[in-house]
């Protein structure tokens, strides 16, 4: 047997533009995948990493074509094979695990049947052996009670379990090469850590080669032996995981690593200027030229070639890599320059409960609140003017629900929200007065959805200005230009439509729209989750800058603890709509902390192969909060016994000012 499973030689893939130009998406890709090796392909959106992964299966999307090169699997060129020959290889020799297993599984077929289908296609086993194999596979991906699991439908499984089923299906044909396209991106942090652990185990256990495609350097660092960094359709760096992450010798990787917020460091990450060029815009020279801090004249005129450095076992595409070998990746961050937060409460949440349950007619008439077990319950938070408070938790923790209630989009069922000490905010946005509406603004996760595609930037930013200040004509225009400048966008953006902007620019417009209302409080709902890492750093820096300039208060919802660490002053940890812990962010990231906080922190993936996630809690998903007792009782690794089940835990105050809601004493929590 050969040692190399797949060999890609000078592969270029492109499409023809409307003008008839040939535009490359992948440029001269040369690499190989060894037997038993796990290779991580990392890059931002549009870098060509998914196109490369698909080409490794011999699949080229409609509209694209190969312009040069070959992609051989066990010495056969996949790109020259016909459909029949590929059928024998796909699924059997090369298997793929998709990003969203929930969508990849057929919703009306049972799990067992779907795995059986894969087995029938790719193996010659008879019915009895296949049934045995199904249990074996489900066992291998560590799904509980395989026999009953096989009889379930995909929607009865959680996201992590669905992903495990996808892994089991991919393993059905005992493939030699496993392609994984962002397999953990949609999952919660704790689930993600568990799935990655499983993938690592499978790689070791079966000896399968894996290609792991992701934008997330943290996940890549955990599973890969070797990392390929892609930028604008080219391989810019290709080397062993430690060499790439600890001593990145390409300026792009260097900048990328610096723009990732780290759990261990407070303060904002450095951002990279600009954004990735669109395919076909770079005619000559290095594609990273515009954004590079080391660039010089020759980088603009000549394209660097991929150069192999023997001592580092790394290939790099840069003229100036020698300068970066000396500069080690020193970890530093931009310290935040916050004014001291005064105890000057701007928003109070008192005993807020929110329920999605439908009230009965009689209760509606009597205005009674009857749901004993609401989605969000008993939230008490005081927010001071000028601080950034983060709400963190996994999906279903109620963090976005609370945000919607503050915005008046979802009525609170119990308790109240006070604005500026005494004024109780109307629960429904329709009954709020214009000044309260203006004071609270929202920024959403995905700027593609939050900006009307048929409005120009000018129209988008004009809306709050017209609505709250009644501006028009020259005054309106002047204000729009002012605000655009504040978010570092030029005047010429006014006539653009959102589709003409990059992801980062779109989010800047969304930020500008929120700030146009001169708000006191801005609610940020996962504002950086949909953005690429380098763009995320820039948006975080912008938000911080605006806060320093205007003294705005942020309520920042995120599932990403590293991002939260970078931007927030205070953190509130939520589980199943109940508060677990609240305190200054530097304390929350230290012991003693609530067991759930510990679980969350343990599961965070750092872009460093030497920092392994700690898997303490069970990977289960609860869909309803428990009726009584502690909200985290079902998954808590430190659960004491009946007291956790029956009694709501008290708030205990740690010596550093942290409030923790647990039955355990501080000493026990510190362990």
């Amino acid at each position: 047997m050969e040692n190399v499973v797949q060999k890609i030689n000078n592969l270029s893939i492109g499409f023809r533009s409307q003008k008839g130009e040939e535009i490359s998406i992948l440029k001269n890709i040369t690499t190989e995948i060894k037997r038993g090796e796990t290779v991580g392909i990392v890059g931002e959106s549009g870098s060509g990493k998914s196109t490369l992964a698909l080409a490794m299966m011999g699949y080229i999307k409609h509209g694209l074509f190969t312009t040069s090169g070959e992609c051989t699997f066990n010495s056969n060129d996949l790109l020259k094979m016909d459909g029949r020959a590929l059928e024998k290889i796909r699924g059997r020799k090369i298997a793929m695990i998709p990003q969203n297993a929930g969508q990849a599984l057929t919703p009306n077929l049972k799990i067992g049947y779907q795995i059986d289908e894969a087995l029938r296609l790719h193996t010659d086993l008879n019915k009895i052996d296949r049934d045995k194999k199904i249990s074996e596979l489900l066992n291998k991906v560590r799904l509980p009670s395989p026999e009953t699991m096989a009889l379930r439908y995909p929607h009865e499984l959680s996201g992590g379990q669905q992903q495990r089923v996808a892994v089991a299906m991919a393993l059905a044909g005992t493939p030699e090469l496993l392609l994984l396209d962002e397999p953990t991106t949609g999952l919660d942090v704790t689930t993600q850590a568990h799935v990655l652990e499983l993938l690592k185990f499978i790689a070791k256990d079966t000896g399968t080669s894996m290609v792991y495609v992701s934008h997330d350097l943290g996940a890549i660092a955990q599973v890969s032996d070797r990392i390929i960094v892609m930028y604008a359709g080219e391989i810019v760096l290709d080397g062993p995981v430690r060499s790439v992450l600890k001593n990145p010798i390409h300026p792009y990787t260097f900048g990328l690593l610096k723009s990732i917020p780290k759990l261990s460091l407070a303060g904002l990450p450095h951002s990279m200027p600009g954004s990735q060029p669109q395919p076909g815009t770079i005619k000559k020279g290095c594609s990273f030229f515009d954004r590079c801090s080391l660039s010089e004249e020759k980088c603009k005129l000549n394209s660097p070639q991929l150069e192999y450095l023997e001592e580092l076992k790394t290939s790099v595409r840069c003229f100036k890599h020698k300068e970066l070998i000396e500069t080690k990746n020193k970890e530093n961050v931009i310290t935040r320059n916050d004014k001291k937060v005064q105890i000057n409460e701007i928003l109070n949440l008192t005993d807020v409960s929110i329920s999605y349950a439908k009230q009965k007619l009689l209760d509606q008439i009597l205005n009674r609140f009857t749901d004993d077990n609401p989605t969000v319950k008993g939230i008490n938070v005081d927010i001071n003017k000028g601080e950034t408070i983060a709400l963190v938790g996994e999906s279903g923790s109620g963090k976005s629900t609370i945000l919607k209630s503050i915005a008046g989009l979802l009525k609170t069922k119990d308790g109240n929200i006070k604005f500026g000490k005494e004024k109780i905010l109307q629960p429904d946005v329709k009954h709020r007065n214009p000044n309260d509406l203006r004071a609270i603004q929202l920024i959403f996760q995905n700027p593609d959805e939050s900006l009307n595609p048929n409005h120009t930037v000018e129209q988008i930013i004009a809306q709050p200005l017209r609505l709250y200040f009644g501006m028009s004509g020259d005054e309106l225009k002047k204000n729009i230009i002012d605000i655009l400048e504040k978010v570092r966008l030029g005047e010429f953006y006014m006539t653009r439509y959102p589709r003409q902007l990059s992801g980062g620019e779109k989010q800047r417009v969304a930020v500008a729209r929120a700030f146009a209302a001169k708000p006191d409080i801005i609610l940020c709902d996962e504002v950086t989750s949909a953005l690429d890492v380098s763009v995320q750093a820039a948006v975080l820096n912008l938000l911080q800058q605006l806060k320093e300039d205007f003294g705005t208060t942020y309520i920042f919802v995120s599932h990403d603890l590293a991002v939260v660490r970078a931007i927030s002053d205070r953190v509130a940890v939520l589980y199943q709509g109940r508060l677990c812990e609240i305190g200054p962010s530097k304390n929350v990231y230290q012991t003693p902390s609530h067991p759930y906080t510990e679980v969350l922190l343990g599961a965070v993936l750092e872009p460093d192969p030497d920092i392994k996630p700690k898997l303490v809690a069970e990977d289960i998903v609860e869909d309803r909060p428990p009726e009584k007792g502690c909200s985290f009782q079902g998954r808590c690794p430190k659960v004491i016994g009946d007291i956790c089940k029956n009694e709501t835990p008290p708030w205990i105050k740690a010596d550093n000012g942290n409030l923790i809601r647990c039955h355990l004493s501080l000493e026990e929590l510190r362990k």
Partner: protein, 294 residues
């Protein structure tokens, strides 16, 4: 992403671009040519018609097509060619304005239902469903026999009956955008429902509604001609294709020309509108016939 420094196109440039895209497909080009031909014929036919459309001459009954009478004459000796080129005028006018009415009320009601949702939406949609289940021709006959067959009655009546389908399309298109964050964002800012409909929803559902309206136009044309055929549309001696087909169908076996000419007129116009509407939909990116991308 287009080049950021380039200025975006003006509205008229966009319309020209859409027309250009439509004409770039053979079917779209054929549709546009037919439609433009029919519209210009309707505008110019009073000056083009060689004979008076109502001049009766018993001596010239059922003449075969000749150099004198290109399409022959009908049972009353009227020139079929003159009557055919004039016959589309009323049908086009009535159905054009009828479609506008249908678009207006159907579009607005659909968007409104999609936006408010809940009980109001339920009630309104069940009423629309109930109307959809009534055979329209029966209801039209009832209205026409009660209120007469004038244009003032026909346009709103047709507009009402063909707007029901548009309600459904507009509602569905609204549902597609209603859950998007930009609507929620507008709500959170405190915009009124009217402002949300006008500024946020309408620009995003406009294309779907326009395409549906264009399709309805061709159906309405068929409906109007059916009414005329049954004698409830235009009153004689006004030339109208439906009426002409109805009058001449008894003599079809020996005077086919009197019936063929209006049939060709009617069917080409309907095909023309259909092809144009299809090309319009494709040019706007709302293609109902595209396959899955894989």
């Amino acid at each position: 992403m287009e080049n950021i420094k380039q200025n975006p196109k003006s509205t008229s440039a966009k319309i020209l671009e859409v027309l250009g895209t439509m004409a770039s497909r053979p079917s779209g080009l054929i549709g546009l040519v037919i439609l433009i031909f029919h519209v210009s014929l309707a505008l110019l036919s009073p000056y083009l018609a060689p004979y008076d459309y109502k001049a009766i001459d018993p001596t010239l009954m059922l003449q075969e097509p000749s150099s004198e009478f290109w399409f022959g004459t009908d049972s009353l000796g009227r020139d079929v060619f003159s009557r055919t080129i004039l016959g589309g005028r009323i049908a086009l006018t009535v159905t054009f304005f009828g479609s506008l009415i249908a678009l207006f009320w159907g579009g607005l009601l659909g968007i409104f239902c999609g936006l408010v949702g809940g009980k109001i939406d339920d009630v309104v949609m069940r009423i629309v469903d109930a109307f959809l289940s009534i055979p329209w021709i029966l209801a039209m006959l009832l209205i026409v026999s009660l209120l007469g067959t004038s244009i003032e009655v026909l346009i709103p009546a047709l507009g009402f009956f063909y707007g029901k389908g548009i309600v459904r399309v507009a509602r569905a298109a609204t549902h597609d955008v209603i859950a998007k964050d930009f609507i929620i964002s507008a709500r959170a800012r405190g915009h009124s429902n009217m402002s949300i409909i006008w500024n946020e929803i309408l620009p995003n559902v406009r294309d779907a509604i326009l395409v549906e309206g264009a399709m309805r136009w061709s159906w309405m044309l068929l409906g109007f001609s059916s009414l005329s055929f049954l004698g409830f549309g235009v009153s004689p001696p006004t030339p109208d294709w439906g009426l002409m087909i109805s009058n001449a169908r008894g003599l079809m076996s020996f005077a086919y020309w009197a019936v063929i000419a209006p049939i060709v007129g009617l069917s080409t116009l309907i095909i023309g509108i259909n092809l144009t509407a299809d090309a319009f939909a494709k040019a706007l990116g709302i293609d109902r016939s595209t396959k899955a991308p894989v």
